[in-house]
Symmetry: D2
Subunit: 338 residues, 4 copies
């Protein structure tokens, strides 16, 4: 922690700060520059997080030296995290995992058809919402447990894994019975009670980046999961909110190399929510692969005209199959597979 | 709903869309312009929300005519909403209500002292967090039920009302036992299950705008509360996330006149979280009053140096008292009181 | 300057950096913390600006201690800057200056009528564009020198000062002949050649904040003017670009107290461009006054229905007169006048 | 143009609008819906751009049907634009063009060495700034004409083309004498006088997207160039400003497929400015190629430790060579070459 003092800070103010720093078991290092006095604090920076040094008289601002996340950082674990799931699916390995399926689970037959199609094209997870976070209370809110049953059944019949959203602490147990991976949606990225419950559950988690979350915020939310002992965490970039309106969100692919540098956790790209338009899904999926992602999540619907949500960003099975062929070519060009 | 077709849309495509519109019980109105064909849809626009018209062949884009919120809109209720609470406090009336107190409840004596001070300066609500949403799992997470008891006791002893945050659906009942008003925090603005529970509870709710929520998003979240029959809702502007870093958030006072135009619900301004720095709280509180807000929420702490959270944005009781005097002068200049 | 090293930085890397720091005539102060080595640099921080320390082996990141602006900072000048203009108008004083007029100069009669009206209501500057920055090449581009003549004539006839935009280095001389104050528009805030020419001209300058400029960026652009010896500079907050679409821009009133803290330069608020809608101009003008601004700029048009630009945000003279009465009440409530 | 009326719009107000529409030579089409009256306007939408319909009594809001750009749109030209330059370089073709070189031109020997290296690795343009837009007036401002001479000489000696920035209308003629392509920087994207001069010059132009410009804004600025008869325009995505701070800007690769859909103009990606950190340049360059870009611009410096600007985002020649090999593999995977 570096404490920068005001130009006119008094010796009394400097002493007051140094005393407080020492009381916390840390060592202050006062450095008198040409225009400012700066106090470096040596010792465990965490101890200072409980102390609002900015409010001490004479302080101009305070700068952290260390990252606030620990278990999520590359300092904690140098090599990439990998974890294995059923059907031999490895998350975080050389092979990029693909999750595909409809936005919402609507009925079983449709779901099974999509599951068969995406499995054939190379997906290893069936995605689909049973509990749906909808902006409007008047929109379709999902089938609930019935939807979970359909997902499980369709996945089992086709040899896929299930990844589906859990929206509320009270649903964690229920969803865990049916799903192989719990998805925490963008709107719940800082629902800290939900993070804690999912951490305790020890189920693999797909943690989506919030619309206005920095990468640092995302890693802090991951830290909630890790600090409860759940290291089976995959991050998801799905677009942030910016001033640009030609896409639904701004898929921030820069986050991929940043995440790869900062953390050992695997990261997946969701170009369907990230762009909001069918035509942009394939180029951004390929770009995500080229940027180094470990997974893709794509909305696929048999008949987007009839979809109860997100029809405009869903691919038909045939379009998904074409996307997979293109993404595979890019994956091989960068030394991966899909 | 206005459907704009592609330049090269075929008669078959136009027919296909019109057929679908009619199937939904609506009337299509085809208008052939110089460069584009446009289909206006007459009837209840809501019926079209389940139908992703963007994906129909030949469609370029679709534009809504109506706002997606109903009960929250000025169309539904022309006059301002007001509701009365204990101690004769009226929310949404001529008098601007003020909520003040520490960021977190830390201990009873401190809380009682602050309560006495802010009451004396003219506040009518005691604010303070018992359940704290913290970015880091390693930060102080609040005192829980003990904190709620302290709040209730300090408020009762001083004649204040309690407004405190509820973070999780499982806490709604408990918090309702102690609080006069439930606060839904910015990070939970789109925690739809929590919105539903708070709607059902019928307790007055302070709904904070999310960091990346448009005013429209905020009103849609309010709609969740209203649609469950709870009309005792006050909105809160507390800063949005932008590229600017000289303030913690960008307090968006434009939202005040926009909200006043779009909805009948009262709106409060939180300059403490909105700016993140003590020096900016008073000017922005006064600006909020001048812009037409119905309430202020201000963090006050006896000794910000010892605060367990948000010390850098907390005012001391004396500074709060000065702020109240200034805000009162502005309130009177705009025909209000405080 | 604080140089934070990587966890695994070698003694050779540390030596290499210290050598370079000493070569620049500065003193390195190496501090070995628990997790990181940090090098504080003592001496004139500016010398390091030419040296990209981030790229030195072993460096994790570099943090500045000082602000990059000098002449614009409160360190350089503690008291508020004021400057006097013709007709006894003082910019930066107790009285808030008001600039009003049409977006574009369209014809002389209209301009004179507006000038008379706004003068009567208390404005001291006539604003209006002769050279117009338009997003579309097909929109009205302004009357050019003819417009400048009209402005000068209407101002002289009514006892007002002229503030008008200069868009290009080649226009500085011409515009200076007619105008009392040169406006540098938001889109040109970082047109550095234009800043230099306006600095050299020594004419008073109104410098508008760019749509994506931080307050720091704005002060750096002001520094271009000041470093050429032109201290007659007024800053202007006119809205930044965010994700919110219910207003044309997001008028960032937080910038007022931030600017007041960081710099001695006066600051004006433009609620017309800041919000883009007539209904929001008066509340945001009042809020700007309450937040502590030194000036207001308001678009006024006799007949907004016929305006060649920005009609939707223009007030009629009668509405402007009402705004002035309200703003005056707020100004007095905060110890100012208008 | 679609005019949506207020709920309580009167027949007189509707008539007043229809009369005005007819006066402009257009046909109003009044459609009475369940909750709102809507007026569709048939005829040349451009005629309405001079008329601020939002301010007419009874109007709630106005929605455009057509895009505001014409010559830049796919409606105007369906196939991709290509243009040929010296040394047989084709911009917009199957082969992705690469521009590389130092941020600033600093001295001839260094420039020549870099030019030789990047030519060998496959670049076809030498980039480098002679006139530098610097945030601080105290930073290195470029060598001016001397820098242009160095660029020309180094390019001629190595068989490269020159792309360099022009910052001011007064420099267009001079820069045109030395450069093969004029670069308009992000900060000048809406310097409309500069756009006009570059349009008139007929020199090929690289137009960089502004930090807060939407794709639509970028295309409107391109329209300035095209409307002056200059169709040799290449667009450049170089990062937008968002709340994220882990990268210098947010390189918005979504813009690539959006631009490809909306316009026939070629588009280049600048991952150096887009990310601001050396480690992120290669992954984002590869992602840009996978997303479908037609060009890459990369900062290369012999010794980033000594660079007078942007050292932290510059690659060494060896790193650039590695990037080119990787980008080539991705290009071939998507049916392109580099």
């Amino acid at each position: 922690m570096i404490i920068v003092l005001k130009k006119n800070a008094t010796p009394q103010e400097i002493d007051h700060i140094c005393t407080k720093v020492r009381e916390l078991g840390l060592t202050p290092n006062v450095s008198r520059g040409v225009e400012r006095v700066v106090i470096g604090v040596i010792g465990d920076e965490e101890k200072l997080q409980v102390q609002p040094l900015e409010v001490f008289p004479g302080v101009e601002h305070v700068m952290s030296i260390l990252k606030p996340y620990k278990l999520a950082s590359r300092d904690y674990r140098t090599e990439n995290s990998e974890f294995e799931m059923n059907h031999g699916v490895k998350v975080g390995g050389k092979k990029i995992v693909v999750m595909a399926g409809p936005c919402s689970v609507e009925n079983y037959d449709m779901l099974l058809n999509v599951a068969k199609a995406v499995k054939k094209s190379g997906a290893s997870f069936l995605r689909g919402g049973a509990f749906k976070p909808r902006t409007s209370p008047y929109s379709f809110q999902g089938l609930g447990e019935e939807g979970l049953k359909y997902l499980r059944q369709a996945a089992d019949e086709t040899g896929l894994l299930v990844c589906t959203e859990v929206m509320d602490t009270r649903q964690v147990e229920l969803v865990s019975q049916y799903a192989d991976m719990l998805q925490i949606g963008a709107r719940n990225m800082q629902n800290f009670d939900l993070l804690k419950e999912c951490g305790i559950s020890k189920k693999p988690v797909l943690l989506k980046r919030g619309l206005s979350a920095t990468v640092k915020d995302l890693l802090m939310s991951a830290e909630y999961l890790l600090s409860k002992g759940n290291f089976k965490v995959m991050l998801c970039e799905r677009g942030i909110r910016t001033f640009e309106t030609s896409t639904r969100n701004t898929l921030d692919l820069n986050a991929i190399p940043v995440i790869k540098k900062e953390t050992h956790l695997p990261v997946l790209v969701d170009p369907s929510h990230g762009t909001g338009f069918r035509d942009y899904v394939a180029p951004m999926a390929m770009a995500g692969v080229a940027a180094g992602c470990d997974g893709l999540m794509v909305e696929v619907h048999e008949c987007p005209e009839e979809a109860k949500s997100d029809g405009e960003q869903s691919l038909r099975p045939k379009q998904f199959d074409e996307l997979m062929a293109k993404a595979r070519a890019v994956a091989r060009a960068v030394g991966r597979d899909i």
